[in-house]
């Protein structure tokens, strides 16, 4: 995927917002509104955008097809995980269905040295960071709390405590600043950090504190909020009275709303924000306006709280369909390509399934490892006791 020049931000972010007392929440229409950046309509037509077109136009056809492949594979992986849960192989799954473009678009805007802080739903970002998808299953299968080395992938562990990771991202970005890895002009060095979080998370004090710290320190961090309209059963208007992208202004940096189901727009907007961060222009808040097509997790029953008509409306805005249409009509991809991707997706699904079933259960004594980096007598004594205790059973059984 090729890289592009930084476009001037002021124009893209110069959109003004004016909240009046009459300001109504977005639902039930759930339209992104006139300020939402969109490069591809739901019908798959390219919407011109003077400031951002350059970023997208610079992408090779191969790169553009790569984005499609990402979207499709990620969706396939997600479906497989959902199936694995249904079959009892996972305890839980948090599907990203509908949010593929928001995740792949932003994930592919990252450079290798950038660092991402996910929630528990960022399977698409993980994919872009090179995490083997099967490793995402460990936590949901209950064999570990996170199955990759964050520092190897520059992708932090999934964070379940809502909002906490936004502060971790900000602190990481403060470290980047102290390392001098901002604004050097060296493409392989200048580093940006991205924090993912949901619409519900914006209510947590942690997230606001992250905006404070990032603003005050002018840190190279992008706050990437996937507004999928729901926080479990609570619609967006239970979390905020104003559109979320308005939030950042009062903390001293720009906010922008992008069509989260438009992979090109997400890519362009995120790239611009990341480049602003890495060149020393400070944080940006990106609201990716999208939709959680499925249940909150496999434990959830959305029929309790939302109407299917709403889901229907959003089906029409599907991120993959629209992108496929555009690739097709512009001739950037043909049926062979799509077939090949489908085949690859099936293969991925199969491999994930197979390797999931083969995941070994952890051994009991594992729980005592890594509690501390240095020897800790309480843990050591307990592990010994544990081993002795379980050995005694085995002896009994052996007898």
């Amino acid at each position: 995927m090729s890289d592009n020049e930084v476009a001037p931000l002021e124009t893209a972010y110069g959109v003004d917002h004016h909240v009046t007392r009459a300001d109504a929440p977005d639902r039930p229409a759930q339209e992104g509104g006139p300020d939402m950046v969109q490069l591809l309509s739901p019908e798959g037509e390219r919407v011109p955008h003077p400031e951002l077109d350059g970023i997208v136009d610079a992408l090779s056809d191969e790169a553009l097809r790569g984005l499609y492949r990402d979207l499709a594979l990620v969706r396939r992986f997600d479906a497989e995980a959902t199936a694995l849960q249904r079959q009892g192989e996972l305890g839980l799954w948090a599907s990203l269905l509908g949010q593929e473009a928001a995740q792949v678009g932003s994930g592919r805007a990252l450079r290798r040295q950038d660092y991402a802080f996910p929630t528990y739903r960022e399977h698409g970002v993980a994919w872009c960071r090179g995490v083997d998808p099967v490793n995402l299953l460990g936590m949901f299968r209950g064999v570990n709390h996170g199955g990759w080395d964050p520092n190897e992938k520059n992708f932090h562990l999934y964070t379940i405590i809502i909002g906490a990771q936004t502060l971790h991202a900000t602190g990481y970005a403060m470290g980047v600043q102290r390392d001098g890895d901002v604004g050097t002009g060296d493409e392989g060095r200048d580093t940006a950090v991205i924090a993912y979080f949901g619409d519900g998370a914006t209510s947590q004090g942690d997230v606001s504190e992250a905006l404070v710290f990032a603003g005050v320190n002018n840190s190279p961090v992008v706050f990437f909020c996937q507004n999928n309209q729901w926080a479990i059963s609570e619609p967006n208007e239970k979390q905020t009275r104003a559109p979320l992208w308005h939030r950042a202004r009062g903390f001293g940096f720009p906010g922008i709303r992008v069509d989260g189901n438009d992979v090109l727009a997400v890519y362009a907007v995120t790239k611009q924000a990341l480049d602003a961060a890495r060149t020393g222009q400070g944080p940006t808040f990106v609201e990716a306006f999208t939709y959680r097509m499925g249940a909150h997790t496999t434990s959830d029953d959305p029929t309790k709280y939302r109407v299917s008509a709403e889901v229907e409306v959003w089906k029409h805005r599907d991120p993959i369909e629209r992108y496929k249409r555009w690739l097709t009509t512009t001739g950037k991809a043909d049926a062979d390509f799509f077939d090949a991707v489908d085949a690859e997706a099936d293969e991925l699904g199969g491999s994930v399934r197979e390797r999931c079933l083969a995941m070994p259960d952890p051994e009991g004594p594992e729980m005592f490892r890594h509690v501390y980096a240095e020897e800790h007598p309480v843990t050591a004594r307990e592990r010994e006791w544990f081993e002795g205790y379980h050995a005694s059973f085995e002896e009994e059984v052996a007898r």
Binding site: H145, I160, G200, S203, Q204, A231, S233, V371, T379, Y389
Partner: protein
């Protein structure tokens, strides 16, 4: 008399409390249409309206903080924390405000608040969903901390908690939510009282919440070996019903405390210290503790090995009897 689940025992208890007193309001995440992730508040918003069953923004400090304000206005808020591991953002409000406002105000302000926390492991959940954090609150003066273990207590104790003029941390054993039992006509003693749930002579098992059932099973198993175990359901962790606990300890002379929380500074530590102070010459063995290990709650495929089970309880009984 009706048979119901522990979860529904709470639901009906909340309903009764809300019918009796219009100042009782519920606050929490997803407690309205969804009825909470464990469906404990199911149907209540429909019947009592959105003003009394409030789907709050996703912010625990905000939930408890605004509940404090509502209490100051004369309401009796019942807060649902979605899972044990999500109470910490509200920790400051609970220990610095909820616990202290009555005393800080020289008694002019009351904090009749209930904070419901589904707690403990055993349901195969992901991280932060299986914590047993009762020590933090039981160590905090100004709070009452209770845990129910069966549908009857669930129903009556939540009603007593709502009626209490003190703040109550109300622990619900999530893996027992679906256990069924009868709900009787009246509570078994007041909120601070323990209850002997099985009489026995050889060793006393002290437990609360999810471990009561485990201890009862252990007692049944031990009976086959000719051992008579007494099981006491503590029900209240702060205050501890020291009278009941001491009586049982004096009777058997041997005590094993069982909980899911880590043993280091778990409730077992306090019980051991208290019993040793009060009944030094009457104990035939040291108070033994069976609890979670002193490690973060492990991935769920290890939770069976982490959590105290029948075998570990009986192992401790053996060790106690060996003194």
């Amino acid at each position: 008399m009706s048979s119901t689940t522990l979860a529904k025992g709470i639901t009906s208890g909340l309903r009764a409390a809300m019918e009796k007193d219009a100042r009782v309001v519920l606050l929490g995440e997803d407690i309205g249409k969804l009825g909470g992730v464990f469906r404990v508040t199911e149907g209540l918003q429909k019947d009592f309206g959105e003003d009394r069953v409030i789907d709050t923004p996703l912010a625990e400090a905000g939930i408890v903080g605004t509940a404090i304000g509502m209490a100051l206005r004369g309401y009796r808020p019942v807060v649902e924390i979605q899972f044990d591991g999500f109470v910490y953002p509200a920790f400051d409000h609970i220990v610095s405000q909820v616990a202290k406002l009555h005393s800080r105000s020289l008694g002019t302000v009351r904090m009749p608040m209930v904070i419901r926390i589904p707690f403990g492991g055993g349901i195969g959940a992901v991280e932060h969903h299986s914590e047993s954090n009762e020590t933090y609150f039981a160590h905090t003066a100004g709070l009452r901390v209770v845990a129910c273990s069966n549908p009857h207590d669930a129903h009556w104790m939540i009603r007593q908690a709502v009626e209490s003029d003190d703040p109550v941390i109300f622990y619900e054993p999530k893996r027992r939510y679906w256990d069924k039992g009868e709900v009787g006509e009246a509570p078994d003693g007041d909120l601070g009282s323990a209850r002997v749930v099985r009489e026995g002579d050889d060793v006393t098992l002290l437990a609360y919440g999810p471990m009561v059932k485990t201890c009862l099973q252990a007692a049944t198993a031990a009976e086959e070996d000719g051992r008579s175990l007494e099981v006491v359901d503590l029900r209240s962790l702060s205050p501890l019903d020291t009278g009941a606990v001491l009586a049982s300890a004096r009777k058997t002379g041997r005590v094993v405390v069982v909980h899911e929380a880590s043993t280091f500074l778990g409730i077992g530590a306090e019980l051991s210290a208290m019993l040793t102070e009060e009944a030094f010459y009457e104990l035939e063995a040291p108070v033994l503790r069976v609890g979670g290990y002193n490690v973060p709650y492990p991935p769920s495929r290890l939770e069976e090995e982490f959590l105290p089970d029948l075998d570990r309880v009986l192992d401790a009984v053996d060790r106690s009897l060996a003194y």
